[in-house]
Subunit: 337 residues, 4 copies
């Protein structure tokens, strides 16, 4: 069977690297084009770990050239850059999985938290790429907005309890992320000396992933929910842990509800003991655990922020969009130990 040719645009960052790592051995996809804003280097110059694995020229990204060789493109670009590029590609008939924030929100919320939206037309048809909610829609989508890492883990933790949540009680999400989530850019907050032996909250109650979580939970529940989101930076490279605190308005067995909800999902594992980030690092799994004190609930989820929180979820979406089985080429074996 001939493989489907794909492009990776924005190959210099961590999520771009992860896409390469996933696609180089994918059973149905073939990397046909790798681009960055500059181009003119070899992929092994950008990522020396790929020496002996793949030889590939990195080109200056050009939508027309991509359309000639690829049926689907992964965009691992900053927000704002992504929508300009996606618009062009879609017009040329290339399917797009966009890893940026550009197509994740309604236009109003987007423009409030990011910037003016320049591709409102495609935004209308974009599908939010969380298969546990939108599997069918993704299958038919031309454009999938791949969710952020914080929203992926938060929504998967809270989703099973949405219909039991007390509407006027605020939801609190205490999120903890590894440093790779902030990308390769040099910054005070990524300097080893500042991160090591440390932990701090950042942008508490103000992070841009907060409206994404709120919008999706409201849409899924039909309830007007208040979501209070506080991310923390952990002294680890990979991994994300969500500790969500909920108040219910009826008596349920939270553990049974959780197990029941995810019984048919291959990439969500319900755990009987508190989840940790090592057990999912390297995989597309989301592990979930719940404990309760009457109607007060602690639900915790763990994902690999670069995989389930970005690149492997993007490949899952691409699998669905191209009619392949959802699990094809998706990593399930953790790095542990």
């Amino acid at each position: 069977m001939e493989k489907t040719k794909v492009a990776i645009i924005g190959a210099s960052g961590y999520t771009g690297l992860e896409l390469v790592k996933l696609l180089v051995s994918h059973p149905y996809f073939e990397i046909a084009y790798v681009g960055t804003s500059e181009g003119g280097v070899k992929l092994t110059n950008l990522h020396p770990s790929l020496v002996g694995v793949i030889e590939q020229d990195v080109l200056k990204s050009d939508a027309k050239e991509i359309a000639k060789v690829a049926k689907l493109a992964f965009l691992a670009l900053p927000h704002q850059a992504a929508m300009g590029f996606a618009k062009e590609l879609l017009a040329l008939g290339v399917k797009v999985v966009d890893l940026s924030a550009d197509y994740r929100l309604g236009v109003e919320a987007y423009e409030k938290h990011y910037c003016e939206h320049v591709d409102k037309e495609n935004l209308k048809h974009a599908v939010y790429g969380l298969p546990e909610i939108f599997r069918q829609e993704i299958k038919n989508a031309q454009l999938v907005a791949n969710p952020g890492c914080y929203p992926t883990a938060s929504i998967l933790a809270i989703l099973p309890f949405l219909k039991y949540i007390k509407e006027d009680a605020p939801i609190f999400i205490d999120a903890k992320s590894g440093v790779s989530g902030a990308g390769k850019k040099l910054s005070e907050s990524a300097h080893f000396v500042n991160v090591n032996e440390n932990i701090t909250a950042y942008n508490p109650l103000k992070h841009r992933h907060s409206p994404e979580i709120t919008e999706k939970l409201q849409n899924a529940s039909g309830k007007k929910l208040e979501v209070n989101f506080v991310p923390h930076l952990l002294p680890i490279t990979r991994g994300m842990l969500i500790s969500a605190y909920l108040v219910l308005d009826e008596d349920i067995d939270a553990s049974a509800v959780l197990k029941d909800f995810y019984q048919n999902e291959k990439f969500v594992r319900v755990r009987n003991t508190p989840v940790n980030v090592k057990t999912t690092a390297g995989t597309n799994f989301c592990d979930v655990f719940v404990a309760q004190n009457g109607r007060s609930v602690f639900v915790s989820s763990s994902i690999d922020n670069l995989l389930r929180g970005a690149s492997s979820q993007a490949v899952v979406n691409a699998n669905l969009m191209c009619g392949y089985e959802e699990t094809a080429g998706i990593p399930v074996i953790a790095y542990v130990p």
Copy 2:
């Protein structure tokens, strides 16, 4: 001026070591006795970092011998062991700062969460050693129950908001601690490979520090509060961060309330940006920060779990019990960087 002679009982663990480090250069206290359950070694055998700093024999702890040489004893013993020893020392006229849980709770709560209490008489008169609440009582105490690390940081974060808290809304405390909080004992959960590049909740909603926090907050507020406490283990050695989530029942300026509440406290620093654990590690400071979303509040505190959460707070209490200024010999200079 002659120094007051003190004993350190339980010198082999981390908090025992911290007591030695604080007292070896204290202006008013002199280490007169160092004991462990075994004795028969030199202090530098237990703690090789003390070579060239202090020469001291470690004795098999004996209350009568202690009473001969010391006016005050610090007990850095496991719970249950501590109360037997404290009882003896108090009967011999030795003041006691107990770092264990044995005198922190009312008898009922203690026996529910720990074991039978064998010194109910002294328990009645024990003072909870959090100077920001019980400064005056500590000055007159013979026996001070030094607070746990989680309760110290949690209570100091929540205390300023107690009177504004909505009584029927649960409090959620998401706590994060370095590994030294679990002591020197070998365990799966302290094995480097399990901790490094990882984070997990443990004993969620069931940790033994939870009733201590609840009791103190209820007593201080006169309100019947529900406290949901979830500790997490961080891949760091020292430090503790508390992220507490509260719902208020009136509109306040949380930041102003916080600053006002602690304006005269020397060991609490109110911060304008989210607190981190490096800035307090090595000191007796508790740093606190607050942010709010209407009546939903995020308040975060940071302490050194072994110092403000144990040993330096114990020395503060000893200072007060002996009529010295509270700040004498108390560390304020962080290890940072």
Copy 3:
């Protein structure tokens, strides 16, 4: 094509886990038997990260049962236990890749550094499983002694320079290993608080891998070399870096010699900048770099201690022993970032 059935004996440790992870998706091998000394559990109980990946009962290891279902066995057992088991399996016609030290040394050296050898007969025919030296012999072997992690990385670094080394100048090997190399066992030296923010040498000039390195280098060179080996414990989980210091007795271009030596090896990458452990972690690669100051040489190598230093090298050996291509199912994609 039917897959070759294999057994993994000693599945509870880290190298056992890595074997499972490699073999679960191997193109030519199939896991037919997983054993430990106890048995009676599920593999996912031993390694919770395998939930959703493989369902497998773990049996109490029994050579006769293994021989019924498997053609080849991987022994991830402690030394001494391994040779008893290997002897039985070989007698039953099962090929063995032994990851312990039991068949790596000549009998004299073995008995000096370990214990009495109880399988001297098979020891004579055991092949040392370093493909870069013994590829042909491995292809015909019934029993392969998989090299230790320190010897693998040290030998691969020094091998290209053996014929230029000054015979009477001692070789110094400064080795640095992640904590996983010491296994899962609880110990002071694996306690997080002792490892984190720390580094120390251990068993300097006395480590048991030293005679293994010496013997192989002497055999390969025909020179009587003095090897001084000093391992250090790093505050990382995975990875090993070797810094070897050599004195040459002729003028060579060390960099050219190195490149030339490994030009046809797929699993050794010669680097132009100093190697690091992240670039090989997760793979079977050994990265090597050399710098020189006249006849004084610094040569450095990096491997994943659990893969190239144990389990993936074991699978390479199994590939060769069974007539498969050397690279089949062998990981080349690093965990980085």
Copy 4:
């Protein structure tokens, strides 16, 4: 007794911060001036951990103003900037402890490895501030060149063996440093994701501290020694470990030689087990350990790179220059655990 007023120039970096931390509670020195190249801030803005510890304005450094208020100045400036400033201060009668490289080397070596020297006159009289070699000279010095961290630890390790070293056998120094040694500057090599779970050599055989070590060892021994220096970057914040490899030309008991050599030194501790960096972090101690294999010697030393490798050694030098006891205000209590 009136305190001696001192200035700290270059207060924004890590060594500047350490100087403040040491001098704020020094028994004989008083901070009279704190300067940076910009000035115009409060010290607590530069270092938030100092809130509640010291209130001090940071000024734009001006030699004349410094001379008005301070008898001695600590220069924590980059090389090149330091010598211009030192020259001015010395002309104004201010004693100088310079933490940069500007006065550490002979003029020829300096200009080869750094840049043109603009203060050759003072360079002639500068004393190298390693008290274990130059204690008497330091006492009479106006200008002390405070040694680099790598040279301090390397020289103290090798010094006791200098007269036994085989002259034509190269010395190999395998050095490992925490990230704080590279300062606060943002760089790829200090990005958390690149450092964490990693180790690499950098500038092998080419680091600028190499000529400093060579010059001092040659001068102290009168031998023409070849020093091969290879630094490695560790995933820790603080601490430095030196593993030096020597060949002797006579049979000695290396351990006895080491103990004898340092028997009267207060800040060097000879250890019977391999040294580690946690036991010296936070102190001015240098811990040393030696092992030997005949005439091949492994000697290892550990220091806090920011203290014994910079700021506390600078204060020791200032103590000596001002006639105070060497140990006054010098930290001996390690951060451990």
